[in-house]
Each structure stands twice: as C-alpha cells, then as structure tokens.
C-alpha cells in the first residue's frame, strides 16, 4: 500500500500524518521536538506508523469479526499494551545507559551501591508501568521523557534515601543519559511488539470473551500490510534541518492552509497560533493560500508565552486555560512580550490581583494580538478555522469566539480536536498530490502537460 507522510517540525512538538492514496488519514504521531529535529521527525513518523497499524487493525477487525462496539475498547487495549512494550524497551535503554555513565571520581568506591540503587529504581519504574499502561488508564503525556523522567526523579530519591546514598549521584547518571536515550528512537521492531501486545490483550485486556482465533488473523493481516513510504513532505520551523531535498519541503503556511481546507473544505480564513509564531492565512476554495500575515521577529503572544507563564506559575501548560476560566473579572494586560511575561505577572500579583483574573487577561491579550494579525491578512471570511496548540485552550477559544463575533459578526468557527496536526495533514496531502496527481509544484510544466 502506498503511504504518504507529512511531518510538521514545530518549535515545541513535531507532528506526523500518514495517509493513503485516497488522502485518507491512517495515522497521527506526535513527539516533543527536543533540540534534535532529525530524531523528532523519525519518532513522530514512527508514532504515525504505529497509529496507522492500529487503524488497519480496526479496519480488518470490523470486516472480519462481529465485535461491534467492543472494537474500540480492544484497539484501545492493544494500543496501551503496545505503548507499554515500547516504554519498557526505552526504560531498558535508559537503564543500560545509566549504568555506562557510572564513571569518574565522584563514583569511586560507590559503584556497586549505585548499580543496586539503579536496579531497584528501574524495578519500581517497570512495576509502575503496568499501572500506567493498564487498560483505560490515563497518562498526562505519552512522551517518554515526561513519563519516565518525572517518575525517575521521585523514585530514585526514595531509593537513595533508603540506601543512604547521595541522590545527586543518581541524578547525575540520569542527566547524562536521558538526552542520549531520547535522541535514540525506539527500535523499529513494531510487529513483534504488536504481537506481544496482542497476547497481553488476550490475557489481561478489558474486553472479555474474545476468541484468540477471531482476532489473531485480522491483526496479523493488518501488521503485514506493506506501508510503502512513497513520498514524504516536511514543513514547520525545523524543515530546513530535515534530510530531504528541496521538493520535499513546503512552507508551513501553505501546509496549514491546505490542512485546514482538508479538515473543513469551506474554510476561507485560518488562524494558527503555534509555539513561536501566529499566522493569519486566507485560502481559496481549493485550500490555496491567497494571503498571509504573521508576527515579525518578536514572538509576543505565541504559544511559548503561555509556556513561560505556566513555568512562572509552576503549573502545567494545560492547566492555564481551566484556571483562566475560573476568573471573575479580566485584568487588563497590554504587553504580550514573552520576555516580560514573568515581570508582568509578578507585578499584577503584587498589586493583589487573583491569578485566575490575571490569566483571563493574558488569554485575551494573546487573542487580541492574533486578531490584529488576522486583520492585516485580510480579516475573517466564513468559515474560520483555528489551529495550533493554543486551539486546545478553552479560555483562548472562548475569547476568540467573542472577539470574532464583535468584529466580524456571526461566523462558523471550526476547531478540530486534531487541530495540532493541521500542518502535518497539509504536508501529507502535498506528498500525496506529488505522486498521485503528479503535482510537484516545482515543475508547473508537468501539470500543464
């Protein structure tokens, strides 16, 4: 089966979409961008392939079995157990790497004790993984570093205390290892991991009464489908670092325009608030970009701004929106300068303002800035699609709805749960068109002929 991959290398996360010849999305993958775009791209791509495998499993099971509504649950379990396999594999890599890092003056005479402490730490981490990836369990993040890192810090501290060993020693080996491990994508042995996951689903899954012979065939079929990587298109800020030739790279503005059009074909205006930039894009009925405006070299009011605010408040990025929703009033914030974010915040707190109210004001300030960029790009024409990481933030979207109505009247506003993949979706469509429709855009002659 021909497959087409779009990769969007953002400043915060890297997204990948895998689609088939009909332009149907089979898989989505996301990972943190690290400071290594090449790894990020390969991890995101692998994630999309995993997702596509699950998609194909679902499809085969639907055709072959009468599982009905149980399929979703089954696929959910299969995904969870697969992720556990993957997590354990990376955990093994992390442990091995940590052991290699026990070297230098500070470790002299303590090597054995540290090895034991590491063994115990990783034993507990593995034990936790069973709970973390139990069917139906929720995880705050699926990024290895987020999951393993935060737990390693907690557990190794306990272990160090119990063993009366310096915690700093365990931290030291971890710090030296995590970047290495993170930049080493998990092995590609997906099929084996899926097979093991399938066995676990059958043994411990949440769906009862499944006969092994009913599902094994369809799942194996799905795993055997040859996902031939036909064409890849990269986009996003890190696109120039991709080991692709020029025709495999497209600007994220075009990709966002096309991606939004594919999600909502009536889209005429797109707003994308990403980590480092805010873009206002006008597209025509075919998703072709007519006009765009974006912030200049200053990233005021972009996603990173919220990131800094979250850091300042010592809360998670995803908690900001809900906090702002609890505001009783809106503090007026004029500056969305990322550099001054902390100062602005402390200043308001010192004046006795509530955190919720300040956050409400900050969200409004971001959207006001976005509104000005949209206005410069040509305003809002029905329908309007909001994409990017910030589209997940309800406080921001509420503010956007209000301001859009005030300025442009009633307009259909589309916010897709998968909006973070908009750029990657556009890229995968460019990849598909390059082959299926012979549209490379670099060779207009080809099209005319």
């Amino acid at each position: 089966m021909k497959s087409f991959i779009g990769i969007d290398l953002g400043s915060t996360t890297t997204k990948a979409i895998l689609s088939n010849e009909e332009g149907q999305v089979l898989g989505r993958g996301i990972t943190n961008s690290r400071s290594n775009y090449e790894t990020a791209a390969s991890v995101a791509k692998q994630e999309a392939v995993i997702d596509a495998r699950l998609y194909l499993c679902r499809e085969r099971l639907e055709q072959a079995t009468g599982m009905g509504e149980q399929i979703e649950q089954f696929i959910g379990d299969l995904g969870s157990f697969f992720r556990k396999e993957q997590f354990l594999e990376q955990l093994g890599d992390l442990e091995g790497t940590c052991l290699e890092k026990i070297e230098g003056d500070r470790f002299v005479g303590k090597e054995e004790a540290i090895k034991e402490a590491l063994a115990e730490t990783f034993r507990r981490l593995r034990e936790e993984a069973l709970v973390l990836y139990a069917p139906g369990a929720e995880r705050k993040s699926d990024f290895f570093r987020d999951l393993a890192g935060s737990r390693y810090l907690m557990i190794s501290e306990e272990v160090a205390r119990e063993a009366q060993l310096g915690y700093d020693l365990l931290l030291n080996v971890y710090d030296k290892s995590i970047i290495e491990v993170e930049n080493r994508p998990p092995s590609g042995q997906l099929k084996e991991k899926f097979q093991r996951a399938l066995q676990e689903v059958l043994a411990h899954g949440s769906v009862s009464g499944i006969a092994s012979e009913d599902v094994t065939g369809p799942v194996s079929d799905a795993l055997d489908v040859d996902l031939e990587e036909t064409y890849v298109v990269g986009t996003g800020y890190g696109r120039v670092t991709l080991p692709f030739s020029k025709e495999h790279i497209r600007s994220e503005i075009l990709c966002h325009g096309l991606g939004a059009h594919m999600m909502y074909p009536k889209t005429r205006t797109v707003l994308d608030i990403g980590g480092q930039d805010t873009k206002g894009i006008q597209v025509d009925g075919e998703g072709i970009v007519e006009n765009f405006q974006m912030n200049d070299r200053c990233a005021a009011g972009c996603g990173r701004y919220l990131g800094y605010i979250a850091d300042e408040m010592n809360v998670g990025l995803h908690e900001l929106g809900p906090m702002a929703m609890k505001a009783t009033r809106q503090v007026r914030i004029n500056s969305t300068c990322t550099v001054f974010a902390g100062a602005e915040l402390r200043d308001r707190l010192a004046l006795g303002e509530k955190r919720e109210d300040i956050l409400a004001g900050l969200h409004r300030a971001i959207i006001l800035r976005a509104m000005s960029i949209i206005a410069r790009s040509g305003g809002i024409t029905d329908e309007f699609t909001f994409t990017g990481g910030v589209a997940k933030n309800e406080a921001a979207t509420n503010e956007l709805r209000k301001l859009v109505e005030e300025n442009y009247g009633k307009v259909t506003i589309n916010i897709n749960p998968n909006s973070i993949y908009t750029g990657a979706l556009g890229a995968s469509e460019f990849a598909r068109r390059a082959i299926v429709e012979g549209r490379t855009y670099d060779d207009a002659e080809l099209v005319a002929a």
Binding site: Y237, R250, S251, E252, I253, L254, D277, E286, I288, V289, E290, N291, F292, Q293, M294, D296, R297, R376, G378, R439, Y441, D442, A444, V447, A448, A449
Partner: protein
Amino acid sequence: MSTMTKPKRAPKPRPEAEKDASMLKQKEMMAGHYDRLTSAPENGDKVCATFVPGNLNELIMCFDFVNNLPEQNAIQAGLRKTSGRFVMEAEKMGHSEDVCTYVKSDLGMMARGNLAPNGKPFPDPDVLLLSYTGCFTFMKWFELLREQYGCEAIMLHTPYTGDGVITDNMREYMVKQLKEEVIPKLEAVSGVKFDIDRLREYLRESARAEDDLVAVLQSAKKKPSPIDAYFGGIYYIGPIFGAFRGTKEATEFYRLLRGEIDERVAAGLGPITPDGPMGEEKYRLVTEGPPNYTSFRDFWKMFYEEGAVCVASSYTKVGGTYDFGFRHDPDRPLESLAEYCLNVYTNRSLPQRVDMLANYIEEYEADGLLINSIKSCNSFSAGQLLIMKEVEKRTGKPGAFVETDLVDPRYFSASNVKNRLESYLQMIEQKRSSTQTLGAAA
C-alpha cells in the same frame, strides 16, 4: 573567580563577492569620494551635507562644496557591520528604539569619533542643505546636526504631491525659494558666485547618466532579467543618488554599466549575484521599501537561492524617478531641479505609489509585490498594507510582507524573513500551477 571566556574561533572566511568592472569602478569612485571628503579641511574645501531624496548635487557642486550624505554613511556603516554599535551608542544618548536607525547610526558614529569608511574623520559640515521631500525625520535630523555644528542650515521646501500632479504653482514656489533663499545662502557660505552656465553643464551630464540608468533598470523587462533591480539596483543607483550626479565620472560609469548589461541581454544571461551568476529565473518580483543593510548579502541570498529576481523596485526611485521621462534639463535649470525634487518617490502620494507599483507588475510581467517594511521608518511604512491590498486588487497578483530594518542588526530575524519569503514564493508557485491545472482542464 575566573570568568569563562568563549574560545576564539577564526571567523569562517566568506568568499569574495563576484564583481563586474562597473562594480569595481564604483568601489573606486566611492573610495575617491570619501578621500575627497575626509581631506576637505587640508584642501581648503567646504562641505555641504544633504540627503539622497532631493539631493541637489549639481547645485552644490556649483559652489565647490564637497557633498556629504549622512544616509549613505549610515548605509556604509550597515554594510560594514558597524551600525549596530552606533545605534546603541545613540540609544545611550537617549534616542528611543523607534527612531529612524539612519539617524541613530549617524549620531552614534559622531559620538564614536565620526570616522569615514577610510578610517579618517569626517569633516564638520559648513552648511546643511535640507531639500525636504516628504520625510519629516530628515528635518529633525538636521535640526540635531545644526545644534551640534552650529552651522548654516538651509531648507528648500518641496510641496507634497498629494493630488498626484505637479502644478506650475509648485514649480514656481520652489524656483523662488532656490533664487531667493537657497542660492544666496550657498553663495554666502561658500564665497563662490553662482554661475548658471556651470549648473547647465552639470545638468547636461546628469541627463546623460540618467538615460543610461533608465536603460539599465528597464532591461529587467527582458526574460530572464539581466539584473536584479532591487539588490543589484542598490549598486546601480549609488553614484547617481549620491555625490556623483552631474559629474563626467558618473556619465562614464553609467555608460560602462549599460554596456555590461547590454552584453548580458544579448547573451540571454540573468543577474550576477555575490555568489556568481544566478540560476534559473523562477519568480519575478516587484519590491517596495528599502532593503536591510546589515544582512544585505544574506537577505539577497534568500531571493536568488530560490530563483527569485526583483525586476523593479520603488526604493531605487527615492533619489529620483527617471523612468517616467523626467530628465534634468540644462535649458530649464532651476525648474528641472524643482521637478526633480517633486518627483522623488518619498514625495509621492499613496495613490501614486499604488499606480507605480501596479504598473511595474504589469510592465515587468512580475509575479507579485513584495514589501520589505522597515521597522524604524514610519515615513515609508505607513500605508504599506493598504498599498499591498490595492496592488493585489488591481493586478490580481499576490503580495507579501517581510519586516526588517535599515541598519539596526537587531531587527533582522533571518529565519522569520526566510520563512515568509519561502512561503510567499511557494504560494506563487501553487497559484501558478493551480491556474495551469484549471487551464489544462478547460
């Protein structure tokens, strides 16, 4: 406590830019100009400072002044990467971040020894001649210089062509100022009597060079264009916008340049870039706004690497608009000086600018309009978005915006500019191929 210092790495050697004979000659001319300027005190020459838009070089030469152009000095500082220091120096003196960076580069340069590119100090001006042509900041700039030097400052007021036409009244008003105000004062400062025949002779030279300049700029109508009319254009306008208009040297320079370009046309060649001959011409752009000087080569590279060539630009008209037929005229010396000032791009109204840019797109068969909006130049930037929208509407060709600054290196974000430019070029490509698909389908 020791301070960490970064190990010093030898800077990566940058290959020398390729230069045509005309560029070498121009380099020689500029070096000669700065030598003449810095040795003015020992030669007993007097110095007149003035600006590029509305530069009355022929008149200035009539009084044996050496012409010093502070904007060109700021541009030189930008190209030589010293302007950043100067701008910060001026900010230390209290000038805000938003003030025109030409001004700040100049003031900062003065505070740091006021050295010309040849390493010798610039002489103090004996007179400041402000031909006011639409930029209010120029007036404030000279006000500061007048304070600093305590010298004579002369203002020639050019009426704004708000209605897009030059009336007899405007011309007469300017000629009257020239006769009653400008010339007598220049005579007084220089001690040289005004000789109108000397002026006529200079104007005759100007017109010759102007003919050749226009031919060079209009060669970009050819496909492929033999020149880049924005980045390359900056070199082409250097002498005529500066201290050379009206000289035999300028006439020779433009003759040589035109010869070179004619050869390129005959051979069907594209422009020469700092990295050698440009590859295939894929996009033809009209540009509005000054370039960025602190990363001039990097900025240009972003264009030629993608096969984008600028076929016409408004910036190359700030020191005089010649392509619509205006020439300095020895038979109407003062009148033509007045018309010259009235015609410069900075003195043109918004609708005139729209007309000019939209016509360029048609005449030069360009793919669209690219605006480089300058952070610290309100005079140029105000209304640019409106210009873009209007030009898009009139031509049906897409426009785009990048934002940089004149000579403040802090306002050049390479990744941001590259991102926008590439997006724009891909957008053109996408539109082109979708039109062709439609065409093929029909």
